[in-house]
């Protein structure tokens, strides 16, 4: 199952990659330094209360105040700041040439995920799930569609604000496979606490298979994504998000429930906000549902994804996540909800 902050040790102390490893180093250093300062304060307190008179006088003297009150914190905090900033500088470097890029946009309250080619064009869109290969740094371009959010997968990197009108960068890298929980780490409104996602780290070969499968039929371009050992070429940088519509994906039909589920999805207005590549559903306001059937979670990392939770979410999303932008479709009856859920399950 997905590793979350509830697990012990907490992910900040259990890094799954080099970038979070730096954060862990910094965290332990701060714990250590904090313990040392606490010890010094306790000793000083003991001297002030019970110590010999000569020590008390020394502690109350001007020299002790200058040394302990000004010089020590000034030097230590300055050194810590410089060291901390140097240590974590590599986390937020912008793109260096041919690295893999993923754009993540914070929305109230979910994460839009776009896989980019080397020219920065969108090749494939997903939501609330970020797939990366093990042992390779991935540059995230962080944006926000509304208010300030913050992107945080504690197992993989530090946290970085997602600011409207501004693009920030964060590097993540996993050195082991796994499913790592991520959250919005900046209060962004009513359902901030229910704004999560999953970062999935695959073995390199598995990731390539996954990516090839996802992009097959999506566009006419080559690999579309730039691997470290495959420098970008003109052929890989032709993609654009809209090119997906030009060649629809072959969607399974003649499956029981498929026709009515698909029709209901279109008729009920779902298509106004959601996109399903290869169909007329082309809305951009909500998460892209082209691959919703293969997602691990629903509702931005909050519910397991199965037919029951799909029905519950479609029919009653407002009681599960009050204030989210999807209305509860409680005018649909149970059969209609199930038909839509069955069709969405097939979108993989």
């Amino acid at each position: 199952m997905i590793d979350t902050l509830w697990d012990w040790p907490p992910p900040v102390l259990d890094p799954a990659g080099p970038y979070s490893g730096k954060v862990t180093t910094l965290a332990w250093s701060l714990f250590g330094l904090g313990a040392f300062v606490t010890l010094v304060v306790i000793v000083a307190l003991w001297i002030a209360i019970k110590g010999p008179g000569r020590w008390k006088a020394e502690l109350g003297g001007e020299r002790a105040i200058w040394l302990g009150g000004v010089a020590f914190p000034g030097i230590v905090l300055t050194a810590l700041l410089v060291w901390g900033l140097t240590l974590t500088a590599s986390l937020t470097e912008p793109i260096r040439g041919d690295e893999m890029r993923i754009r993540v946009t914070g929305e109230m309250w979910w994460f839009r995920v776009q896989y980019l080619d080397s020219s920065g064009a969108v090749v494939m869109e997903d939501a609330n799930e970020i797939h990366i290969p093990v042992g390779q740094p991935v540059v995230l371009e962080l944006e926000s569609a509304d208010v300030i959010h913050s992107f945080w997968v504690p197992h993989l990197s530090g946290k970085k604000d997602m600011i409207p009108g501004r693009r920030t960068f964060l590097r993540i890298e996993a050195d082991r496979t796994g499913e790592f929980g991520g959250v919005c780490a900046e209060y962004c409104g009513r359902q901030h606490a229910l704004m999560g996602f999953v970062a999935v780290a695959h073995e390199d070969g598995d990731f390539r298979d996954w990516y090839a499968q996802r992009t097959a039929g999506l566009a006419r371009l080559g690999s579309g994504i730039t691997m470290q050992n495959e420098p970008p070429t003109a052929a890989t940088s032709r993609g654009s998000p809209r090119s997906a519509e030009e060649r629809p994906i072959a969607r399974p039909d003649a499956i029981p429930g498929e026709v009515s589920g698909r029709e209901l999805f279109m008729q009920s207005g779902c298509a106004a906000c959601h996109r399903v590549a290869g169909t007329e559903a082309n809305g951009l306001a909500g998460p892209d549902l082209t691959h919703v059937g293969s997602r691990r979670t629903l509702g931005a990392g909050i519910l397991p994804n199965n037919r029951g939770t799909l029905i519950g979410w479609i029919g009653d999303s407002q009681s599960l996540k009050p204030g989210n932008r999807m209305p509860s479709y409680d005018m649909l009856n149970a059969d209609e909800l199930e038909a839509i859920a069955i069709w969405l399950e097939q979108q993989k």
Binding site: V183, A185, T297, I311, D316, L320
Partner: protein
């Protein structure tokens, strides 16, 4: 899953979560509650002991031991309840509850948990 929703709480020393209304009595009931959380039953049902989610699409499952018939039709027996939890359409034709991804053992544990829910 609830854990994901509440991540962050331990690091910033928030108050303890609101006490759940009910502590499962036995091991089976404990496993049942965990299976309920894992499968996401709360996305349609209000279930005592589960603070979130608490969907209103299906009936509340409070006081299940006092319920006369499962889904208004089936005898309220543990084995039938377990079968219904796992694959409702197979047990009751036309059920609006879909089959859920739980094993037979998990379904039995969930039934044990639901039977432990009374009005008191």
């Amino acid at each position: 899953m609830t854990a994901m929703a509440l991540v962050g709480a331990p690091l910033v020393a928030c108050k303890d979560p609101v006490e759940t209304r009910r502590e499962p009595a036995s091991g089976a009931e404990n496993r049942g509650l965990a299976a309920i959380e894992r499968a996401g039953c709360g996305s349609c049902h209000e279930i005592p002991g589960l603070d979130w989610p608490s969907g209103r699409l299906g009936p509340s499952l409070e006081g299940f031991d006092d319920v006369g018939l499962i889904a208004g039709q089936l005898p309220n027996r543990p084995d039938i309840l377990a079968a219904f939890v796992r694959d409702a359409p197979a047990v009751k034709e036309g059920s609006s509850m879909p089959s859920m991804p739980v094993s037979e053992d998990e379904a039995a544990d969930i039934a044990a948990y639901l039977y432990g829910l009374d009005h008191d």
